[in-house]
Subunit: 225 residues, 2 copies
DNA sequence: CTTGACACAGAACAGGCGTTCGAGTATTAT
DNA sequence: ATAATACTCGAACGCCTGTTCTGTGTCAAG
């Protein structure tokens, strides 16, 4: 019968193989064998799988370790282990102090209490740094475009540069908040992320404790109650 | 001769095996075989390697896929390949139509046009699904707690259940927006995520095209300009 | 001393696996 | 039409690999 011949690039079959390798790797934590690929992609001969694998290797989509079992892998930018594990230190909530990790805390946290972020999503400057995560509780951070349940990832720091989004503890107001930080003539301007809301000003005399600089916000959208 | 008996925990040999697996994995991009481990660790019998591997598995240091070649991997730190690659299909912007991927688009995107998300961050239900990502352009989604530059990850779907956050195309208003979806008696209620903002109502007669359901929002906080 | 747990060696087995070869069919170009 | 190219199949070969079984020596407790 008629099967439209693809002039160039990846055909449907190439694509299916690529997808299968990716999903198999995710599920089994190791690459599939040639025969497993054939089974899933309805290819009855191992030589045909090998045939396509050769093409995918030539086109740079996969890498193969010849003669080695399951020696096939995708050649996308981030192969393996390219994630960053960030400790979840607690919650950030208006009216509560911000828990900042001590040096001893780093490295001693369980996977359940940590957040994994792909390197590719990290702002370049922050890679490999000592970051920590906080879960936002309550809706008091809405003016920072941060909602209840969001996860904010912070870099611990005491001083901020203009434009940084920081987590601050305003002891005068007994309040925790996330704002963009600007140093002006004789005061600090804390600008909400939401442009429709007005900034608050803090005299340089007043206490303003910067706990960390926000580098990322993650929100899992489950359901609205 | 005298070989000091280790009372408990990891012995020198266990450690050497662990180290070898790690370094081999780094160098070859795939785990070593039992015989390769034995060769490096000066163990002349595969059964002895198997003997230690069993112990390391019991003590939780490694995981094994029995019967599968090179089916051994470390369990600490960075789990390998535990990420999800989501294609970045374009931008979502008020007044513009939403680009929704066709079946052919999946899998044919370059790393630069994709977003990697750790599995552990994914809502359980969405794992392995055909997701796609959009970059938010403009500040028109602020009432959805989404800012300019944010990345939203969507699951393509035409119908939504109450409480889902959806991307909709309101052809009457020639507008794209992100809202929480609620079906009411004779109309649809589109509830902004920001509780301080009022919902908009759409009669069931009016056209309302649901393009996808939002499962995650990611924001890289760089700097405020 | 005996016993048993432990560490190790060697060999053999069975199945997994990548590779290769021969042959056949469909599609496209000449 | 004819030839070249692309694709598919089935089978066989042989190495790779995890598993298992038997046996040996060490060491500490009874």
């Amino acid at each position: 019968m008629m099967m439209v011949r693809k002039s160039k690039g990846l055909g449907e079959r190439h694509q299916k193989i690529l997808d299968f390798i990716a999903s198999y790797q995710r599920e089994h934590k190791h690459p599939p064998s040639i025969r497993e690929i054939g089974e899933y992609c309805d290819i009855s001969s191992t030589s045909v799988v090998n045939y396509y694998l050769d093409q995918l290797e030539k086109s740079g989509n996969i890498e193969r370790d010849r003669k080695i079992s399951r020696g096939v892998r995708l050649t996308n930018g981030a192969p393996i282990g390219d994630m960053f594990r960030v400790p979840m230190m607690g919650v950030i909530q208006a009216g509560e102090p911000i828990p900042v990790p001590s040096n001893a805390d780093f490295g001693s946290f369980t996977p359940e209490d940590s957040v994994e972020v792909a390197m590719s999503l990290m702002p370049a400057k922050e890679k490999g740094k000592e970051l920590f995560a906080l879960k936002v509780q309550g809706e008091s951070m809405i003016d920072a475009m941060v909602n209840d349940g969001d996860i904010v990832i912070l870099k611990p720091t005491q001083d901020a540069r203009n434009g940084d989004m920081v987590a601050v503890w305003l002891s005068d107001r007994n309040e925790t908040t996330l704002k963009f930080f600007f140093k002006e003539k004789d005061k600090y301007r804390l600008q909400p992320a939401n442009p429709t809301m007005k900034p608050i000003y803090i005299d340089k005399g007043e206490s303003l404790e910067i706990k960390g600089k926000v580098v990322m916000v993650i929100r899992k959208v489950e359901r609205y109650n």
